[in-house]
Symmetry: D2
Subunit: 419 residues, 4 copies
């Protein structure tokens, strides 16, 4: 128990070295190169070098749980500590290892639902890190946590699909090497149709006519490298073969995509929290007020202890969820995925917030990665389902489990203990 | 991973049946029999029957990690789900299985440090459930979370030890079958002596002259079956052979005793929290206000979800701690033991508090076990080291781990991930 | 601003002396006398003396906002600091001053809605402190936070009302001098009738045939002096003149009764919190661990600071609510009454909990008033409307206020600032 | 009680109109004009117009509690609702009314400690809104919450003071019309000198040789109009007459400056929180998920209720603090100033965070003022003393008050109630 197996342990060691020897030293360089480059954003040279290094170290595509050419998959549990470590350098490490959202989810979709031709055209270059992609789902006019609200249409016209609508919170399209958009819209215009059989996904080349970036979106003032944008799709036409999976299967596919995406976010945020904790401890040892270093103060020690207890619990919860995904499947683990999706970003927020407080002004500005981490935790509390929707979902499952117990004295603990 | 092994799984099934078929139905009977009996408190008949049933089912002495006659030990990890289930009926199940504090800790002490004669006289009848014992450490005049404050003296006088002092928060001595007190005091009167080499433990028969119960202590308004008392020891004399372990080893022995005691408390409180959660869900389905059952309300659903997330995290944290105790030892796991000692009772408090709120008045009175559970969570936040002392200890370890990392970029996550 | 006026300030000084010179010294005596007396509980001599002292000092009936014979009323705002101080000795001071629930609410009902005969018979002896009364509303089978659930019937039969039903959480009937029960039930049996016009209140002599105490209810194990009971009413007959107010006006009257009752609870709990804070500071100065007094530790200082900030905010919120009740009326202040009803007991719970933690075992047992205070805060979170119902009500008002703002840019702050 | 007086009430009405008719419509224009202008930043035309409007409405310099030419001062209590309303448009309204930090604090310093010549040269144009100023205190190398750490030197050389050092978190110097820096440094180089008599303040023209902006500092990712910078002072020379106040009085003057600055921050953040609450309610009424508007959901209603309760308490706490500053003075009110400095930004953070959650992505980006408000609350938890330092200070006062009570039973409530 609590053993990741030899393959994962070996990768952890390699990851530590990769971070220490290559990634951390590249962080400042990366920030400078991004700032100096214009739009559309080229991949900064330092990131390109990191990608080659990672690939050479076989720290590449480790996220993908499905066998593809040249790819022997890790289980979610084996991947967990690797993903966590990549979260210690949120902007650099995941992409350096070709394990960054939204490409990861898109590769999963193509791997699971793509035709051989689609895989050939898009999955191969994505897995080779040669191109980037974006995922296009959320809409500005409606509450997208309810997919039933989606209004963008994908209409059949002869041999083509015609896409019209407005989308936002799409990360990636400003990247120079972004080639592919995977868009979810409504193919079945009949509002009386089954609520969850009306959506489809379609593959749209980034440079297709009618595809337009309306504006960039800040996140707490940041315009990160993978900046978020709002887009307009006006009579965008793609061949019928560009439909991904079955027509009407879009909602189910998006759910299939979300599970792994959510746990990857959580794994990475745990790594970010660990780094914040280290930064805080280091700083608290260096600064003094009123005659003693901060690290000697009882209040700061409580923060250190609270952060440790919260990180460790959230990590274990995430690992168990990974284990469940591996053993009983993403669908059966949905409730636990909801649970970590609520728990982890809130935990990371608290840990990062404590670190910011110890750093004072340096914690708020570009001198530490803390404020940026904070923004990331805040996004994750909304993206892929806001906290309150996941709590609802989790409660629903909890009630079902309770009702499944038919004996007069519920023996419900079993279901939880048996894992 | 997350697999308890066949032995534990089989015991879990047996425990579920034992609880459902024997323990839950006995709860009301027990409360009545305790109330009707006088002082000193006899073991109520229904509890005596439960003990015989449990022994017949081999649900007996499962807590003891050391091999003793007729006892093949479980690991802490194997024991965890059993102890958790016993916490679903906090007052009855642990003792029914001869797994109740303070006897458990006392049996551990005797098992680890007792002479053959001491084992013969005290450990055998304790393991047979024929007698009960008490543990005598805390003192009313000083803050006992710092053992250095202890004032009770154990002085050598010829072939005897003479004990003088005042102690409180001792559970057990009002039981009719309580025969043994294990008392910690100062044997080295030299205040200049090493702070942690001055204490010793001595075995005192309950009926020794000079042993006196001063008063009962309420917990909130409860005088539970295992009521707590304040005691006075006036020139109590025992033979020199009654010293337990080495002279001056008392502090170390008490620490050795505390680790398992703390995790057992935590395991049981997780079970109590699970039962509170079940009670709450059940109640929320039965009560309606303003036209809809409580279970339909979003706020109640959030409580259900929050409790599930908190319970699951706390359980995993406890299981990992058990695993560490099994693999690297109690001493190395001290920081994690501190962590669960803070996390679990606070978690259980919140879960029970939510359940009380759903029950309204019934949650505060004798109609549910909730208020009593609440009192128990409150005791555990103080007993065996208050929250704030454990947070300090945990922070100290965290700082040491951080300093142990000598590379310029800390790679500290390893120590946590490696588990 | 923030000035209570001369009358209130003078009473505050008198109250401080009364508490210091009479009430605090009586607390231990009272506990002993209550424990020694049997059932039905007589008024302990020490309480009788306190009542005479308080009356002599004109610290008597100060709660009543309506002019009655020999009674010149204080405003709610003037009364607030007096009630707060009485909460420093929750069990003794309020009754000593004839300002204890449930008599206060009952006197208000009689004062507002009683006929001259009813006042003569019941209000006069209550105001003289010669008899005690109880208020009978909550029912065990249903969620009473929704008055629509009430099932007890008050049926007309000739010149009499006949009462049948089961009630609980009634405090007072075990007192020897309890003479009067004010019971709310259903007079209009037509379920189609207007939801809030079906209830009435009836005056029932404590010794009327058919009135029966079924059992006492613990609160966290306590059976306080004013113990709570469950009662059965079987064909209890009273003359038609015993109806209080109009038939069908019961719900409205109960609401009228609740506003002041709720704010009195809050005022007193603020006093209890202040006392807990003082006890904690005092203790933290006397106890030492690991070489320094607790009061020197940063963590304890944070508790002290947090409690002070929370108490002060809750007090100001309560005072403003009192001011609103005085100026715009209880109905218009309903939202603020809901607010303090949520805020104050939760604040007091946290303050008391911190104090308990500093006291260790002494904070849980009879050696301090803390555990009892804790139980009281927990009752108040449920009694007179649970937290979640008050939050709903407050949100409803907030939404109405928001909608009342018709300009495109809401100018809503006015409503709050203007007070 | 709870009455601001006619002057303040009239100003509140005027402020509401000013905000609705002029400020809110200008917000988007301002953002655009700031973005389009280069460095050094000119005052955008829309802001210039607002300033003229505000001055015409006599909504000008209302913050200044000291009589100056053409200025009849408001009390802190009278000013409170005005400042709160200005916080509804944090970036625009305060400066439009010449009530924005850091000018406000600088004007106070000049008003209290300036010579007639200094007032003539700097205070008059500041009060006329013709120039801007900056306050230069915090240093990057040390923990500035302890003023004893300050290292920048102000050395006497003949008729001049020579300033050397590095400072940061200075807002304003990038403004085109910034003319004056008020800098705090060490004039008494003797480390053995009294800890709080070593600092002085000196007036430095923005364009003095040796004054250099090193870099801009982000706050989260923002570079707001009043962007923060790091500066280097190298042999900067000013005439001896440029010393503000007495030599060695710098620490005391900075404390005098901080009190009002802190409460102004708090007043404004209350207004920001009110606006966030309104935005949230408005949004929750417009968005629907799963078939019902968000505002119908119990969880959202709890957020609405919690925010209302927290805002109202924090406002009352702030008002009482203002009242204390007016009546017993800033020094005696120091503990309450610390209290609101902890309470208010944390309250505003929670309120804004809830609103962000309801808005989803729109809450994080430039489409709402929420993320920017959030950043502001986060700064205030650090600027002018971090939370933990204020808690320490508040606890120290609480302990002193407690010790001042000499009777055996503390009568400490008086001190709090009497206010």
């Amino acid at each position: 128990m609590f053993d990741f197996g030899p393959r994962s342990q070996e990768l952890v060691v390699r990851m530590h070295d990769f971070l220490a020897d290559h990634v951390y030293p590249a962080e400042a360089v990366f920030a400078r190169q991004v700032e100096e480059a214009g739009y559309p954003r080229p991949t900064p040279p330092v990131l390109q070098e990191l990608k080659e290094t990672a690939r050479g170290l076989a720290l590449w595509n480790l996220f993908l749980p499905h066998p593809e050419k040249d790819h022997e998959p890790l289980s979610n549990l084996e991947y967990a500590p690797i993903a966590e470590l990549s979260g210690r350098s949120l902007e650099l490490a995941p992409e350096a290892m070709n394990c960054a959202a939204p490409d990861t989810g898109n590769m999963e979709l193509l791997s699971m639902f793509g035709t051989p031709e689609q895989k050939e055209e898009w999955l191969q270059p994505l897995m080779a890190g040669e191109i980037r992609s974006a995922y296009v789902m959320t809409e500005p006019q409606v509450a997208s946590s309810d997919a039933g609200n989606i209004e963008t249409t994908i209409e059949r016209d002869g041999d083509e699909w015609v896409v019209n609508g407005r989308k936002w919170w799409i990360s990636g399209p400003m990247r120079e090497d972004c080639r592919l958009l995977i868009l979810m819209g409504i193919t079945d215009q009949d509002p009386g149709a089954s609520r969850h059989r009306r959506h489809s996904m379609v593959l749209i080349p980034r440079d297709a006519p009618g595809v337009e970036v309306v504006r960039e979106l800040d996140v707490f003032g940041y315009k990160p490298f993978e900046t978020h944008v709002e887009m307009r799709f006006t009579d965008v036409r793609v061949p019928v073969d560009n439909l991904l999976g079955e027509p009407g299967a879009g909602f189910a596919m998006s759910q299939a995509r979300l599970g792994p995406g959510r746990i990857h976010h959580c794994m990475r945020l745990i790594g970010a929290a660990e780094r914040a904790q280290e930064l805080m401890i280091d700083r608290a040892g260096r600064r003094s007020t009123f005659g003693s270093p901060l690290v000697e103060r009882g209040v700061i020690r409580e923060w250190i202890a609270d952060s440790r207890m919260e990180i460790d619990q959230a990590r274990l919860y995430t690992l168990r969820t990974a284990y469940l995904m591996d053993t009983v499947g993403n669908r059966e683990a949905a409730s636990e995925i909801s649970g970590i999706k609520v728990v982890v970003p809130n935990m990371a927020r608290r840990v990062v917030d404590r670190a910011m407080q110890v750093f004072g002004g340096a914690g708020l500005c570009q001198d530490t990665p803390l404020a940026r981490m904070y923004a990331e935790t805040r996004i994750v509390r909304i993206a892929d389902g806001p906290d309150e929707v996941h709590r609802r979902a989790l409660a629903r499952t909890e009630l079902r489990r309770f009702e499944a117990v038919t004996t007069p004295v519920p023996r419900g603990a079993t279901s939880h203990l048996a894992l």
